[in-house]
Symmetry: C2
C-alpha cells in the first residue's frame, strides 16, 4: 500500500474523527483509527462504542489496506508537519511508514483485529438542515443539558420533530431552553434524545454545507460532506417539558442585556462560597440587582433602567445559572416574562430571528433574607 | 475618609499588588490589602510574609484612613467596572462604600489589626537596571529554577554581581542557564538568591522605567515607579556553578534552531510514558534526530543540515528539557559546544546581543539502546 496526501488535508480529516476516540478505555483497540484503503479512497474510522464516525478522502493508492493505527500519535505527527506532501507506505512487518522530505515516522499497526462496528440507522426518516443552522441550534441550547446521571433522559438534548418544526430542548431541572426552528414540520411528533458528547462532536463537524440526519428508534445517523457518524440515542422518555412552560406569565420586564449580564457577573463576587444568589428588585422603571455575603457582611447593589408593567417585586436567582442563560441570549435587550416571583420565569430575546423561536425558562430560588 | 479615583487607574494599581496575596494561608489577614490614606496618597500593601509590596497613587482625600480590605473582592469589583470614576467612602460601621454612577458596593473592613511588616533592606548596595532589561534577564533564565525543595538554594535564581557584570543563574541540576549583563561591574563578588515566586512577581512589575535593587544579607528591596517590594532572600549557599561549566568543549555543531525545535517537539510524541528521550546523531553536515517507543515499536527520524567539526557521534537528551532550552534561546541558529557525548553540552545562540552573554548548559542522558 502506497499513497501520497497533503499534510493539511489529512490533518483536517483526522481532526474530525479524533474527538470520538476515547481518552481512557478498557478496550485499547478504540485508541486507534481503523484505516481502510480501497477503490482509491482513504477511509478513517473511530468509535467509542456509543458513537462511530467515518471520514473519507479521495487518494491515488496502489493497493488496498486495512489496519488499526494509534490515533493520537498519527494525528500529532501529521499536525506537527509543515504544509507538505506526505508519503504513506505499509510494510509487511506491520510498520506504517510516513515519509516527508526531511523525516520518516514508523507506526506499528495491527491487522486481523475485530474493530467494533455500530448498526447503521434505517434511514426511514431524513431531515436535512444546513450545518450552520444546526450548529446554531446546539450552541444556543446544549449548555443547559444536565450533568446528573440520575435522570438519564436529561443528560441528552431532545430533538423533536412536530407540526411546528424542529425543536431542540435541553434542561437540567433549573433551566430549560427550547429552540424552535420552523422547518420540516411533520406529524405525528417524533422525539429523539441525543447524548451530550454526540452533540459536542456534531457541532465541530458543521462548517458550511448540508447535514442529513437519519434518526430511528435507537440510533441517529449524521451525514455531512465527507463524514458519516452514527450515535446511539438515549432510550428513556424525555420529561413532558411543555407542561413546565407557563402560559400565564403576563408581567413583562425589558432591560439592557449586556448591562444586566455585566452586573450579574459582578455579583458572583458576593455571596457565600457554594451558593451564589442574586436578587432582582423590579420597579416600574428601575431594576435593582443585589447580592449579599451575609457571613462576611459584604454587599453589592447595581441599578439600571427597565420597563416593567407589574407591581414592584423581588425575585432571587442562582447567580451562575442566570449569568449562563443571559450569555446564551443574543441581542441588546431581554424580556423577563413573570407571573409570581416563586414560579418559573421566562426570558426571551427582545427580537426573534426569522424562522426561529428561542425560549429560556429559569426557576427562581427562595430569597435568603425574605 | 472620601476620595475619587478612576477605575482603570485603580485596577492597574491593585493588579501590581494582588499577586503577592497568598491563595491559601493559615493567617487570614493576609488575604486582605492593607490600605492607608494619608497626605493625599493612597497606599496599598500586601504580603505573604516572604514578600511584601506597596503601591502608591496620588489622590485628593479628605481624611486619613487605615484598614484591611478583602483583596480579591476589591480587585474583582474594580476590574468588573467600566472606565469610570469611583467614589470611596469609609463609614464608622466598618463598611467601605464603593460608589459608581450605577452601583454601590459595601465591603467590610477591619482596623486595629496588626498587619505584618517586613524589615526593609539596608540600602547599602544599590543596583539600577532598566525594567525591560531585568525582565529579559529573568525571562531567559527563570524557567530552569528547580522545583525540588530538597536543595533550597536551587529553588531560587542567583543574582551575582562581579567584576564581569551582573549574572543571573538558574539550574535544576539537569540544565544550567547563565545570563551575563555587562554592567555594574563590582568587586568582591556578591551573591543573592531570589525565591522563584519573587522573580515571577517582579517580572510582572517591569514595564518601562528604571528599577532600583537594594540587596542586603537577608532581603532584597525593589523599587520601580510607584511600587516598592521587599523579598526575603534564600539563606543557603548557591552551588559552585562555574565549576560545572566546561571550558574544553571544542567540537561545535551549528544548526537551524526553529527546525530543530519543531523536530524535538514532534519527537515528544514518541517515547515511553514517563521519560521521553531523543537522540541526536551528528554527522559532518547532517543532523539526525530520532526517538523510539521501544515498547510499542513506533519510531521517528528527522534529518536536517548542520555544520559539525568533529567525528560522527550520538548524544541523547531528555526531550522536554531540550525543547525547553531551545524555546528560550533567541535567533535563527544555535551552536552546540561538545566535548564527549556523556559530558555537559553547552548550547549558545549563534550571535549574542551587545552587552549580554547567554550560556545554556544541558546534561545528556545515557542512550537507551547504546
Amino acid at each position: 500500500m502506497k499513497f501520497n496526501i497533503n499534510s493539511r488535508v489529512l490533518e483536517k480529516l483526522l481532526a474530525k474523527v479524533l474527538p470520538v476516540v476515547p481518552h481512557k478505555t478498557p478496550q485499547p483497540i478504540l485508541e486507534n483509527f481503523y484505516i481502510v484503503i480501497k477503490e482509491n479512497k482513504l477511509l478513517v474510522y473511530a468509535t467509542d462504542n456509543e458513537i462511530a464516525i467515518k471520514a473519507t478522502s479521495y487518494i491515488n493508492a496502489e493497493d488496498e489496506f486495512e489496519g488499526v493505527v494509534p490515533a493520537k500519535l498519527l494525528y500529532e505527527i501529521v499536525r506537527s508537519l509543515g504544509d507538505e506532501d506526505i508519503r504513506f507506505e505499509a510494510s509487511p512487518d506491520y510498520k506504517l511508514k510516513i515519509k516527508t522530505d526531511n523525516g520518516q515516522y514508523f507506526l506499528t499497526y495491527l491487522t486481523d483485529v475485530e474493530y467494533p462496528v455500530m448498526t447503521a440507522p434505517t434511514k426511514e426518516t431524513k431531515i436535512t438542515l444546513s450545518g450552520p443552522e444546526l450548529k446554531r441550534a446546539f450552541d444556543l441550547t446544549t449548555y443547559a443539558v444536565s450533568r446528573e446521571p440520575a435522570r438519564p433522559a436529561m443528560t441528552g438534548e431532545l430533538l423533536e420533530i412536530s407540526e411546528e418544526g424542529v425543536k431542540f430542548v435541553a434542561t437540567d431541572g433549573h433551566r430549560l431552553i427550547r429552540y424552535l426552528y420552523k422547518a420540516h414540520e411533520s406529524e405525528p411528533v417524533q422525539q429523539y434524545i441525543i447524548p451530550e458528547k454526540a452533540v459536542t462532536i456534531m457541532s465541530k463537524l458543521f462548517d458550511e454545507g448540508e447535514v442529513n440526519l437519519y434518526p430511528d428508534d435507537t440510533v441517529l445517523g449524521v451525514e455531512i460532506e465527507n463524514v458519516e457518524m452514527i450515535t446511539k440515542l438515549i432510550g428513556h422518555k424525555y420529561p413532558d417539558y411543555s407542561s413546565v412552560i407557563p402560559l400565564d406569565n403576563e408581567k413583562s420586564m425589558k432591560v439592557n442585556k449586556n448591562k444586566l449580564l455585566s452586573s450579574i457577573k459582578r455579583m458572583l463576587n458576593f455571596g457565600a462560597t457554594n451558593f451564589h444568589q442574586v436578587k432582582l428588585t423590579i420597579y416600574e422603571d428601575v431594576l435593582e440587582i443585589s447580592a449579599d455575603d451575609a457571613e462576611k457582611g459584604h454587599r453589592g447593589v447595581d441599578k439600571m433602567p427597565c420597563e416593567f408593567n407589574g407591581e414592584t417585586m423581588d425575585i432571587a436567582f442562582n447567580t451562575s445559572y442566570l449569568a449562563d442563560v443571559l450569555t446564551h441570549i443574543e441581542g441588546d435587550e431581554v424580556i423577563f416574562k413573570i407571573n409570581l416571583p416563586t414560579k418559573a420565569i421566562i426570558i426571551l430575546p427582545s427580537a426573534q430571528k426569522p424562522k426561529e423561536e428561542l425560549l429560556t425558562l429559569i426557576m427562581p430560588v427562595r430569597l435568603n433574607n425574605g
